[in-house]
Subunit: 635 residues, 2 copies
């Protein structure tokens, strides 16, 4: 059975990699970009539209604000990217916001940053997969009733690919990511060419609309909607921190490669974002329920030809693949937390293919639960999203400000160890500190705007969930501390180790080959063996005694203790007897209980045999001074 | 934890009864009728309507056939009841169709009878509960969306009441059963009085209808629909055999009390059936989707006053309680089968309150699955119902024919033992044999009619399920036979019992109080103790070796075997090493493995600790010659 399990596993997951092969599993920049940047790149499929959908409430004239807002968001993105490049270079072992906050701000801020990110990574998976499935069900409405099943299926497939190892998933995900980028860039470029009528192309004529605002616009409403539009566009920021957690997934020199990949990601994502926004607003496109802005744009620019279907198909693909950012960072961040004992220790274990299996599967389960709870409706999940990431940005940059102040105290040529990383003298620490400080304050303001504008729509859930998760992480750490103190050999006195009582108790239900084998085993350990039989009827007791006396060679020097019991639950008198032996006859010593166990050929057959042995073992497990010996009997 | 579990159990189920109290838990006739007859009595809520709903397809004129068909069914019921009274008197230990068939027809027919009944009892629960919940959701349509949940909830409540013991459930169920009987009898009696205008009452005037048949009526169609109407009315027969399985639940003299209860049940059920049919047909009531015939009848006779609501309320109650017939007989029949080793042995165990817990819970689970699968739609389940019971009737009566032929061979005063029961000389064996023979043939014909008329609507499921269940029962018996041969001490040679190898292997993951305690335990058993450590990194190995050398008093004479392993799955090298010791060093001997086990305070904390010990134990379980010793370490 175990052999067949391991061969099934081999087919699904692949041959195990030896630990020293880890270096071959590292990512080059091309795969690294595909695997970590799918979330920020995919945001361009809807970020512009998100801004326009809010502004249209102020009337079509207000759509002119789209480009300035997008530029503002781009500025924010550049600030954050700059900050994370600093993080990558200063913390080459990875860990992002959690590590930076831990090293500079203390435990609580680091746990808040970690919890915020963990929740956001889970939402990344739920939201992306649901959005991708919506794209599919829009094309094939017959599938709409099965959307939850399809979304869970997509999560299972993503989980499976990720369990096969980071390099393999990087290869699989590279094609759709780059295909999307190329498709959209071509569309934008061709759109610019045609908008300006370059190279003698037929110039595109912007549409003319006059959509009136839905009601009178007060100053307050105006500011409120501009803020909401900005908050909506901030979805473009999610996932840009992903590379910072995964520095160690890159080929050496790790931090340099990671930093370069981050720059490439920033350039690509911002070109797409500003490009789409520019063309869409200059063509006077209107956000619509029926067709996405990106789809309208592609159709306007190139007609419904090859490019159109290319962009549509890879938009759908990258929406699903965006989930992969969650798959990369949730397990890594969990392993960092597990290393510091804030998460179960098995989160640190790497599986056959050198990925953090525990984290991948935990993520898949929680994300599936959320998808089921929200019925794969990503619109309902969106208000929960992007808050966590903004909190982590703010904390991470505040941490970098503190780190830079430490760097500023160094003299030329001097180095120092912070407890986590080594810092060197830098001439440019002042302006880095300033930029990080600005970044931290701006992201904190955006966070507040996000909370206020989205609170009623569901963001309150995240506002509650983050401190609850922090509490859970602390509780886990406290438990581990308590256990390690109890297990510690520090101050161990030899007398504290208990004596072993010279007695063995064997509960028996019948006399057969299995019991005789167990008796023989027990007799090898001690001469004081006691077989205990609980009888619920006289005929049964007589039968056991008769059979007992048939094997004097084995049972001769064993005492058979028959107890009459007037209820049917035979475990209670057995446990009572064992406790009595333990507490009265051999206090403070270890008493051994030998359980003869019949092991049937297959799992189904287990149902057919009295579960008494299992139940007895479970009850005895609570007793500190009882050692249980299983003597199996196979057929 | 164990203490709190047992106090919760005590609150829910009640104080345990000692085995010798069993006699106090027996039922008097009043409770016995309530507990076993709820199914046949409840049938009257819909049996007449079931016949009329088919006949109306032939036009309202054909409704005149309702009474003759009902009389035919009543004749069949009387035959079956007569036959079962014979069974009860001849098989006072109970067991009904299964026991009779086993004793007279052989194993295969008895298994067919048992399987048919088991399936019917499960359906009794699913159908009754769903019908009861439909009555509730008809009154409160807002609850319709929650019908599956409500039905499962009803099953949970029934399960709970039944787990509290047979006498207590008899008391609880008596009130609604008798309230229903009294309510309907009053309605019928008052209906007769008013129909005939006795005692100067305002005479009821039958309605006049002329519903035309839906199409031309051929001879074939006519016969087909009459047969279908008869088959539909046969639902009145379900559950009438229930008492025969439960003879031992009655106070002594068991068979006499059971037989008297059966007679009372027959009289009550038939009075209700014929009474309702007579009044309903003479008032020219029409079956309708909107209102049940029983409801129309009550309203016509007494108006929508107190009696009307009384009958409506207790109809709903008894529809749900009819499930209790299944709860009584499924566990009893299962325990008979388990005694003969056709079912898992634990089906024989009686719980704290002397009921067959295993059977009750198994029934609840399967019935819930069916309710969920059919979305609590009892109309869809009905075609599956009543087939099984008819097969068991036919087999049971065929068995009684055979038994009577044996009785006929006895001389006056002579007795004989059939292997199951003792038979005496009887003068009346000839006509009993005749009646049973007629009963067997008639029920076989009805069975064929049922299969033909309901096959396409779902009865095929039962036609397939019965032989499959028979196969399962036989497989279970074969397994037990195989096991008992293997465990048998017959021909046991002392040399066959294996030697115990003088070696103990202790897998360790670290050196702490828990491991030291396990080492100390192992050293008491043998001087050849080997601690095995699988190292996945050099630093970890050095750390373990350093700590190992700190405790020479314990580790001094133990060999520490460190194995470097280049994958992460440390179980494989551990198991490989243990297998090597077992097969190469000590072939054909029993090798002992001591596992130091850390036992955390609570279940949640278990998730936080490496599951290595559990997985290792599971893998070693498959090895015949390895004894596992758990040395627990509590905090």
């Amino acid at each position: 059975m175990s052999a067949s399990f391991s061969s099934i596993k081999r087919v699904l997951i692949g041959e195990p990699f030896p630990t020293h092969d880890e270096i071959h599993e590292r990512l080059d920049k091309l795969r690294g970009l595909a695997i970590f940047a799918s979330d920020p790149i995919s945001s361009n499929a809807y970020a512009t539209e998100a801004i326009m959908s809010v502004l249209i409430l102020l009337g079509s004239g207000a759509l002119a604000m789209t480009l300035p807002i997008a530029m503002g968001i781009m500025g924010l993105v550049l600030l954050v990217i700059f900050s994370y490049i600093q993080t990558i270079l200063h913390y080459p072992d990875g860990g992002g916001a959690y590590t930076v906050a831990k090293d500079n701000l203390g435990t609580m801020p680091s746990l808040f940053a970690a919890s915020a990110l963990l929740i956001d990574y889970i939402l990344t998976v739920s939201v992306s997969v649901s959005a991708g499935i919506r794209a599919i069900t829009s094309a094939f409405p017959a599938l709409f009733d099965h959307r939850v099943l399809l979304a869970v299926l997509a999560i299972i497939i993503l989980t499976w690919i990720n369990l096969r190892g980071v390099r393999e998933s990087g290869t699989i995900f590279a094609v759709p990511t780059y295909a999307f980028v190329v498709g959209v860039l071509l569309t934008v470029a061709w759109g610019l060419v045609r908008y300006f009528g370059l190279f003698g192309t037929a110039q595109l004529v912007p549409a003319v609309h006059d959509v009136a605002p839905e009601g009178p616009i007060t100053n307050f409403l105006y500011i409120w909607l501009i803020l909401r539009a900005f908050a909506a566009g901030c979805t473009a920021l999610t996932g840009i921190e992903a590379i910072s957690n995964g520095v160690q997934a890159f080929k050496p020199p790790e931090s340099k490669n990671a930093a370069k990949t981050m720059v490439a990601m920033g350039i690509i994502a911002m070109s797409l974002f500003v490009g789409i926004t520019f063309v869409a607003t200059h063509l006077n496109l209107l956000p619509s329920e029926e067709e996405s802005v990106l789809s309208q744009l592609t159709r306007e620019v190139s007609g419904t030809g090859f490019l159109y279907y290319w962009v549509q198909f890879f938009t759908m693909m990258i929406l699903i693949l965006a989930a992969n950012t969650g798959y990369q960072d949730f397990p890594r961040l969990s392993s960092f937390l597990a290393k510091d004992r804030f998460m179960p220790r098995w989160m640190q274990n790497r599986g056959d293919r050198l990925v953090y299996n525990g984290g991948i599967i935990t993520l898949a389960i929680i994300a599936s639960i959320i998808v089921i709870a929200f019925q794969a409706d990503e619109i309902a999940m969106l208000p929960l999203y992007a808050l966590g990431v903004m909190l982590s940005f703010s904390l991470s940059q505040a941490g970098m400000v503190h780190l830079m102040s430490k760097v500023g105290k160094l003299k030329p040529g001097e180095t120092a160890y912070t407890g986590v990383t080594t810092i060197h003298y830098e001439t440019s620490w002042r302006w880095k500190m300033l930029l990080n400080g600005v970044g931290s304050v701006v992201t904190a303001v955006v966070l507040i705007v996000l909370i206020i504008t989205k609170f009623g729509e569901g963001a309150w859930l995240v506002v509650i969930a983050i401190p609850m998760l922090v509490y859970l992480l602390r509780t886990i750490r406290d438990h581990y501390t308590h256990v390690s103190e109890a297990l510690s050999t520090h101050n161990l006195k030899m007398e504290a180790l208990q004596d072993i009582a010279d007695v063995i108790v064997i509960p028996i239900g019948d006399v057969h080959r299995g019991t005789l084998r167990a008796l023989q085993y027990a007799k090898r350990i001690t001469s004081n063996v006691r077989a205990v039989y609980v009888s619920t009827s006289d005929t049964a007791r007589e039968r056991v005694e008769r059979r007992w006396n048939r094997f004097p060679a084995i049972t001769g020097d064993v005492s058979l203790i028959c107890m009459d019991y007037e209820y049917r639950d035979v475990l209670t008198p057995l446990v009572d007897y064992i406790e009595k032996v333990n507490h009265e006859e051999y206090p403070n010593q270890i008493v051994t209980v030998v359980i003869p166990e019949f092991v049937p050929q297959n799992l189904a057959a287990q149902l057919l045999h009295n579960q008494t042995a299992n139940l007895l073992r479970a009850r005895l497990r609570g007793h500190e001074d009882i050692v249980v010996v299983d003597v199996p009997y196979h057929i």
